[in-house]
Amino acid sequence: MKKLKLKELESCLQQVDTFENPKLLLEQYPTRPHIAACMLYTIHNTFDDIENKTIADLGCGCGMLSIGSAMLGAGFSVGFDIDADALEIFNSNIEDFELTNINMVQCDVCSLSDSMSETFDTVIMNPPFGTKHNKGIDMIFLKTALQMAKTAVYSLHKTSTRQHIQKKADEWDVKMEVIAELRYDLPASYKFHKKRSLSQRTTCPSASLRVPKYSEPATCFTHKEAQLYC
């Protein structure tokens, strides 16, 4: 497979269609192509957690992160989202890009916990933050992701929750690492950290969590309904 450059990845991702009528209660806003590209590129180049890997994308929406992963050589990606309308757009994106190694499942991610352990190599997600209606959904996504991932979870979070996540990570016995700080409203101004201690990964008992963080206020609610999406 031809190696994609960061700029190429970003311009491909600019072609990804996103939410037509975003449902604010589901916190439907896409990861911006620039952020998605930088995040995925780092996951790929620094941690080698994409190529030939099985990847889950929780709260996949229209598929920005799954599609980017596929472009970087993911073996297979599965997107999970509660919203059929978003998945329909995801599906047409897959058709447009002629990607063949992506599937999607319509379900409430909150109902997946406890059911799948280490099924996927990597989980990459931009979860709902649950700032208003469903406080804590970000942590449910994280916990579920950590159960599903064999190697690592990459997740975007609000800066203000970092300490809380660190506390939880300690509680869950996983290593958390902040790999990038993104300023959502100033896309050009963030920097991925240059130094990372990869050696620590091996001492980690279960999946490790790497959290590029950024800020974005949002609201959310969930319902207990789920469907397989073909």
Partner: protein
């Protein structure tokens, strides 16, 4: 849904008996096949992690067990690749996660 997705989703559901639960019975009329580029390294990595029993229930064309030297057995890997990634079934899986999943929706715009 591709059989790989099905296999990943059912692979570690707690309380599942081997070969039981969440069976995907594929009806001939529901199946579509779409070519997917073959990636031997990826398929070889998958083999030891698959629930072979669940796969056999859906695809009789596979041997009862993975070939012993499957990593170098391209014909075998191609067959697994075909079943896992190219065949898409619209079967009705039983709820695997304590009722968490309900049967699939009707296919979208011609897909399965």
């Amino acid at each position: 849904m591709k059989l790989l997705t099905h296999n990943l989703l059912c692979s570690n559901v707690r309380g599942l008996r081997p070969g039981g639960g969440f069976p995907l019975r594929i009806q001939a009329s529901d199946v579509s096949v779409r070519p997917v580029p073959f990636n031997a390294a990826f398929v070889a990595r998958l083999v030891p992690r698959l629930r072979w029993g669940a796969l056999l229930e859906a695809a009789e064309s596979l041997p009862p067990e993975p070939a012993p030297d499957y990593e170098g057995d391209e014909a075998f890997l191609r067959r697994v690749h075909h079943v896992l990634l190219e065949v898409r079934g619209g079967g009705t899986p039983k709820p695997p996660f304590g009722g968490g999943l309900t049967p699939p929706k009707p296919p979208l715009g011609g897909g399965v």
